[in-house]
């Protein structure tokens, strides 16, 4: 089981990195999302990984999975959701202004770029 989880993390990380290295904003954002999944699972596995032992207290149960990483991942999911929303919006704003969704600065835009336009 651990091998499967770890390899899933690895695959998601690799795919995430590959997409982050693409040239357009949209795949890069998807790549970041994949990285987020990967790291959330990683963070989750930093506690005890147990199937069928949710951390909800029951009278006759003594084994629980580690609740703390779950709380941390919850926070992380929420935060990365906010971040994703923001980067999508900023990327969209940049695209709407220039009709170009390259994530790298383009040489031609650098040349005659209007400085610090308000």
């Amino acid at each position: 089981m651990e091998f499967l989880i770890a390899s899933a993390i690895g695959v998601m990380t690799a795919a995430g990195i590959y997409l982050v290295l693409r040239l357009r904003t949209f795949p890069v954002i998807l790549g970041i999302s994949l990285l987020t999944y990967a790291v959330n699972v990683f963070l989750f596995t930093s506690g005890r990984v147990v199937a069928g032992a949710p951390p909800v207290l029951r009278d006759d149960v003594t084994t629980y999975t580690d609740p703390l990483p779950q709380a941390l991942v919850l926070t992380a999911i929420v935060i990365s959701f906010g971040m994703t929303a923001v980067v999508v919006m900023i990327g969209l704003g940049a695209f709407l202004g220039s009709d170009d969704d390259h994530v790298d600065d383009q040489p031609d835009t650098l040349e005659n770029e209007p400085e610090g336009k308000v």
Binding site: T13, L30, M89, L96
Partner: protein, 956 residues
């Protein structure tokens, strides 16, 4: 007067000229003069102590831990230099008042001048070498301002930058040297350092320290090979040249060599480096000076030459050499300042400084002529003038100096230097003042007002007096020399006198003068020869070096920082992986603590889906919509994985967040191109694959390693499990951690979400009020649109579901503390319920029915959460301390009332507000000009209209 005042007066005085600017030019000059005079008088009040051989000190602690303190010391050497600085300063100020034109900002000029003056005085009075360094660099900075004073002249700007660069470089080197010195001795106080000659010279770091310090001195004093900046600094107004390059700035290097003489000199290294540099500079400067046509350039190179002379004298390391150096410093300051000011007068009157366009001024400007002649002859080394005396001493010293094992090298070169020196002096006199009066001067020259010629004239007095009666200066010179020598050498017995007898120096002197005269007669052929020989042009080389440095730095830095995010990310990833790999390989790998758990078939199939969808995303990412679907599957599988691994809360959060994220991305994709073109090369893609695989392997290895091991001590979550019910009142430990144990994290988290929404809103506003707006309003959909904007079935369903969704949301909220759920998930559920309305019934129809300002909801959420936290202050508990109690109201069962629930209400509200504000902002972008606001939630409603038979002609 306290030394502090002497140093501080120019600095504080520097504020005055600027303030006095409106009061007029004389007021500016007057206040500057007064300040300088005050400092000068203050200095003189210390004369009795100096004569008595005392050392005046003053000290204030500044950074005692570093050993940098405001420690001042006035001995005869410092007194001598301070006298030159302030005395000549007074004359320069008077001269400048006349020299500067009405277009020049006088307040600015005198401000800079006083800053410079203060820095110079600071150098010569410092008893702490770090403090000295500060003043040292301050002279570089203030001289930068002075040289560049005429900002509109490119030469001025260039000269200023050259001076700053070269002297600044030396200064930086000197920092290193001084710090080493201080580390060797254990103190940065000069008075301590000067006591430790043996310690310093025995230290292995002596040579580096020496070289670094000498770099500072040589650059400042324009010694070969750093001599080139000085002539270019002549672009400054003449008062500046006269001040900086005769008496002050260039002498700073000389001063420091003299100051450090007791501890640094006397070694072979010192001797070879300093003497050689001085000798070369002396000869080279003199030769170049002879062939310069610009009066100030000629004087500048002559200054270079004389500084070389002094340097050489200090380099010999003998007491006599030191005394000769001190004497020549004095003499050079007098005649050179006079010459500079006279050159300025000529320039001022004739409107040119080109020797070739001058001549015959003897009759037109008799007073100036007299001044120049006396000063120049002194410089040439003609007897009965002070220059002769020190030059004799130099030749005498040269005669005894053995360099590189050669007995004749130094004497011959010294004579050659003197010869050329005499030659340019003679050329100066004859080519400018003798010969016929011309009729093509740019302006008709005549003697200037007394205000202008008086200052140089005053300087001629010591030139002549010392020249005739050297014994007048002897006590003073010996007093200063004693300071230079310190404990390192005995005071030489020799006296200052005109006639020493028929010594070799006399012959050398005669050869020099006669040879100089001869040079004047063969000047034209020599000039042709000089012009024919190719020489490196310092300015060109310097500019080339700077340009090259700039180009090089641009080549090094700019392509790397060209905004290529993907490269940044690749470099970052590789760095992280490599650093992690290094940490791994340099550590020891612990053995696994558990066996692997068996993999359930469910897990395997889920894993397969996840991996397939992930890899699918990579291969199909060019189809953006498809990759979004695949991302949905990845998210779904992760959720299911969380369910499998006993994390229902996570699964719910992941799932709902996924839904909202997909909606968000779809809203954005509406504007973006639907496909990503192939742009990167195969090679690049292979690089990316390599980077990605490395990163993937790394995260795999880490996850696998950690999962099979336990923490080094019991996890803190045991406490949470044990006390969740007892202390937090809930059985869902995850929720209790979120709202209680680590409620502070959650507080931050909702703030992140709120900021995200505010940001998205603000950006939408900015876009909709900017140039993008018109484009947005007029944009056409990039693909054909289907009919049916608000499909009836969807509308009916969402209407019907709304109350149920609300109820489920409420349920999830309430049960959160004990079962999976909570405010965050409830918030998302309610938001999705509302979004369903938006999607079904349209933006305007739905907005019209939602009266809640989402800003307010967000704000209220954060405030509710915050005030819940603050509430605990009133029972004297820390922020976010929870409390709960069980209540029983029939017919309800006993239920729990917890402050944590109130906190969760805050979470709920901010989530709803944030999600809705974000989505609303996104969808506002898509409002087109021709969009018709719908009155009804659905575009088909048969109950509103009767059927119209298709065949019937009478239409709607």
């Amino acid at each position: 007067m306290s030394l502090f005042f002497i140093v501080a007066l120019p600095f504080f005085g520097a504020l005055l000229p600027g303030l006095m600017n409106p009061a007029g030019r004389s007021a500016c000059a007057g206040v500057t003069f007064t300040v300088t005079l005050a400092a000068f008088v203050g200095l003189l009040t210390n004369l009795p102590a100096i004569i008595a051989g005392d050392i005046v000190t003053a000290r204030v602690d500044w950074m005692p831990a570093l050993g940098l303190n405001f420690t001042l010391m006035l001995d005869s050497l410092g007194f001598f230099f301070a006298l030159l600085i302030l005395g000549i300063g007074l004359l320069i100020i008077a001269y400048a008042r006349q020299y500067l034109s009405r277009n020049d900002n006088m307040g600015e000029f005198f401000t800079y001048l006083l800053l410079f003056q203060g820095a110079m005085v600071g150098i010569v009075l410092s008893d702490n070498i770090l403090l000295l360094l500060i003043f040292w660099e301050l002279t570089s900075l203030s001289s930068f301002l002075l040289i560049g004073y005429w900002k509109h002249l490119p030469e001025g700007r260039q000269g200023a930058r050259m001076a700053l660069t070269v002297t600044g470089m030396g200064g930086l080197a000197m920092i290193g040297g001084m710090l080493i010195l201080g580390q060797i001795v254990g103190s940065y106080d000069l008075s301590v350092i000067l006591q430790n000659r043996e310690l310093i010279q025995a230290d292995p770091l002596y040579l580096p320290a020496l070289i670094l310090i000498l770099l500072g001195c040589f650059t400042k004093s324009a010694q070969f090979p750093f001599h080139f900046w000085l002539p270019h600094a002549m672009a400054a107004p003449t008062p500046v040249s006269a001040y900086l390059h005769s008496a002050t700035m260039v002498k700073a290097g000389i001063f420091l060599m003299a100051r450090m003489w007791p501890v640094l000199s006397g070694t072979t290294e010192w001797f070879v480096i300093v003497t050689t540099a001085g000798l070369i500079t002396m000869v080279l400067g003199a030769v170049i000076a002879l062939f310069k046509h610009d009066l100030k350039a000629l004087l500048a190179f002559s200054t270079v030459s004389h500084l070389g002379l002094i340097t050489m004298l200090l380099g010999t390391g003998t007491a006599f050499g030191a005394m000769a150096a001190v004497f020549h410093i004095l003499n050079h300051a007098t005649f050179k300042a006079a010459l500079f000011m006279s050159a300025g007068i000529v320039d001022h009157e004739a409107h040119t400084r080109d020797i070739r366009r001058l001549g015959g001024l003897r009759r037109l400007m008799p007073v100036t002529f007299m001044i120049v002649m006396l000063a120049a002859l002194s410089m040439a080394g003609i007897p009965l003038l002070n220059g002769f005396l020190s030059k004799e001493m130099m030749l005498e010293e040269a005669h005894h100096t053995v360099l590189f094992g050669s007995h004749w090298l130094v004497p011959v070169l010294a004579t050659v230097g003197s010869l050329f020196s005499a030659a340019y002096c003679f050329r100066l006199i004859s080519h400018v003042f003798f010969g016929p009066v011309r009729d093509d001067y740019p302006a008709k020259p005549h003697d200037p007002p007394a205000g202008m010629w008086l200052p140089p004239a005053l300087l001629i007095i010591p030139v002549v007096v010392i020249g005739v009666a050297p014994f007048v200066a002897e006590p003073f010179v010996k007093l200063v020399t004693a300071s230079v020598l310190g404990n390192a050498a005995e005071m030489p017995s020799a006296h200052l006198k005109i006639w020493h007898g028929l010594v070799p120096a006399l012959y050398m002197s005669i050869i020099a003068v006669l040879g100089g005269l001869a040079m004047l007669f063969v000047f034209r052929p020599a000039l042709r020869l000089w012009d024919a020989v190719p020489r490196p042009e310092a300015k060109v080389i310097f500019e080339a070096i700077i340009t090259m440095a700039v180009k090089l730095s641009q080549v090094l830095v700019l392509p790397l920082h060209n905004g290529a995010f993907t490269r940044y990310a690749a470099i970052g990833t590789v760095t992280i992986v490599v650093a992690g790999y290094y940490a791994w390989t340099t550590g020891t790998v612990g053995a696994p603590m558990h066996d692997m758990q068996t993999a359930d078939p469910v897990l395997i199939s889920g894993w397969g889906m996840l991996v397939a969808a992930t890899i699918g995303m990579v291969f199909l990412h060019r189809n953006r919509f498809l990759s979004l679907i695949l991302m949905g599957i990845v998210g779904l599988m992760v959720s299911i994985g969380f369910v499998f691994l006993s994390a229902p809360d996570l699964a719910m959060t992941q799932f709902t967040v996924e839904v909202v994220t997909i909606i968000l991305l779809l809203l954005a994709l509406n504007f973006l191109p639907n496909n990503t073109p192939i742009e990167s090369t195969v090679l690049r893609r292979m690089r990316d694959v390599a980077v990605a695989v490395a990163g993937g392997l790394a995260s795999f290895a880490l996850a696998y390693y950690y999962m099979l091991r336990d923490p080094v001590a019991t996890s803190i979550s045991e406490f949470h499990l044990a006390n969740s019910y007892k202390g937090g009142g809930g059985t869902n430990v995850v929720n209790v951690i979120l709202v209680d144990f680590r409620g502070f994290d959650t507080f931050g988290e909702i703030i992140v979400l709120s900021i995200a929404a505010l940001l998205i809103y603000a950006l939408t506003e900015a876009l909709l009020s900017g140039p993008v707006r018109t484009r947005l309003l007029n944009r056409k959909p990039d693909q054909p649109q289907a009919g049916g904007v608000h499909p009836m079935m969807m509308v009916v369903l969402t209407r019907g579901m709304m109350p149920v969704v609300m109820m489920v949301g409420f349920y999830i909220f309430l049960s959160g503390h004990n079962e999976p759920g909570g405010g965050f998930i409830a918030g998302l559920i309610v938001s999705i319920g509302v979004v369903m309305q938006y999607m079904a019934s349209g933006f305007s129809w739905t907005s019209a029915r939602l009266k809640y300002p989402y800003h307010g909801v967000i704000g209220a959420g954060v405030l509710v959460a915050g005030f819940t936290g603050i509430g605990s202050w009133f029972v004297d508990k820390p922020f976010l301390t929870s409390d709960f109690t069980y209540v029983r109201i029939p017919p309800f069962q006993e239920f729990e009332l917890a402050t944590a629930a109130l906190f969760d209400v805050g979470v709920f509200l901010s989530v709803v507000g944030a999600v809705m504000l974000s989505l609303e902002s996104f969808s506002r972008l898509a409002r087109r000009k021709d969009a018709v606001d719908s009155e009804h939630p659905m575009d088909i409603d048969p109950s509103r209209s009767d059927p119209v038979p298709r065949t019937a002609g009478e239409g709607v």
